[in-house]
């Protein structure tokens, strides 16, 4: 269990949040022009690295807003939290 600082509500406990997977995956502009493999790559393939990962989180039991988080998956250290649409900080 760890404390997450929601960019809207402030510090809350992890159990109030839901993880939403990898962040900054762009939807292809012309899905019809993609091969099945490329589409599957976009749809299913996610990084699962040990180390610094950019993720989406949702404050499900609070303000219900989505936001981004930079987290070190090896020790759960949160490097940065930023709102949707903002540029990812370099960590």
């Amino acid at each position: 269990m760890f404390v997450i600082s929601c960019p809207y509500c402030g510090e809350r406990e992890q159990s109030e949040f839901k993880a939403g997977g990898e962040a900054h995956i762009e939807r292809p502009k012309q899905p019809t022009e993609l091969s099945d493999d490329e589409w599957a790559e976009y749809l299913f393939m996610r990084k699962n690295i040990k180390g610094i990962q950019y993720e989406r989180w949702n404050h499900a039991h609070g303000c219900r807003k989505w936001f981004n988080m930079v987290r070190d998956t090896s020790n759960d250290e949160i490097k940065a939290v930023y709102k949707m649409g903002e540029k990812p900080p370099s960590v």
């Binding site: 159990s15 039991h61 219900r64």
Partner: protein
């Protein structure tokens, strides 16, 4: 006027804490983002929407709780407030019809439970992950959090006087959990 039925219909008096449902209380959810929305609501109900997170504002008639950057809950301060119909009607005219935002009547969706006594936070401590240290001394502070794994909105109305809003389908279970916990404080 609708014929409201109470969800809990019970009152508990323990030595250090009292629980009871306040009903019927009219409640509205307001949603909107733009600056025009904020000013239109302010003009319509003569009270500004709180924009600071985890706060509430109130006048004699109504109280507004901040829920998220684009969501607020408004409820009447008194039971069976007939003037609330006018407030709702005006909001629908000035907010919905002008497409600035949304107004949803959640009177039946949320149940308001009032807790009084000096051991309220000991009760919350048993089932909430929220840190109430600053909250308990700040009048008007609000939070949305979990209590016994149930989504609740908690408002610090006054010293040792707290309102809890819970979805109706969870209300009896939460009330029974609170009664049980409070009996052993």
């Amino acid at each position: 006027m609708l014929n409201f039925q109470t969800a809990i219909n019970d009152q508990k008096n323990f030595s250090e804490i009292k629980l009871n449902e306040i009903s019927p209380i009219r409640k509205l959810i307001l949603r909107g983002k733009s600056r025009e929305f904020l000013s239109a609501v302010g003009k319509t109900i003569n009270i500004l929407l709180p924009t600071e997170p985890n706060t509430s504002s109130s006048n004699g008639e109504i109280t507004i709780i901040w829920l998220s950057p684009d969501e607020w809950i408004i409820f009447s301060n008194s039971i069976d407030n007939q003037d609330f119909n006018q407030i709702e009607e005006k909001l629908v005219q000035n907010i919905c019809k002008t497409k600035l935002g949304a107004v949803i009547d959640v009177t039946d969706q949320f149940v308001m439970i009032n807790l009084t006594g000096n051991k309220i936070f000991d009760l919350f401590q048993k089932g909430s992950p929220f840190n109430f240290n600053e909250f308990r001394n700040k009048k008007g502070a609000t939070t949305q959090t979990l209590l016994a794994k149930i989504d609740v909105i908690i408002q610090n109305k006054d010293q040792n006087d707290i309102n809890v809003f819970v979805r109706r389908s969870f209300s009896r279970h939460l009330y029974s959990w609170m009664s049980d916990s409070a009996s052993r404080l």
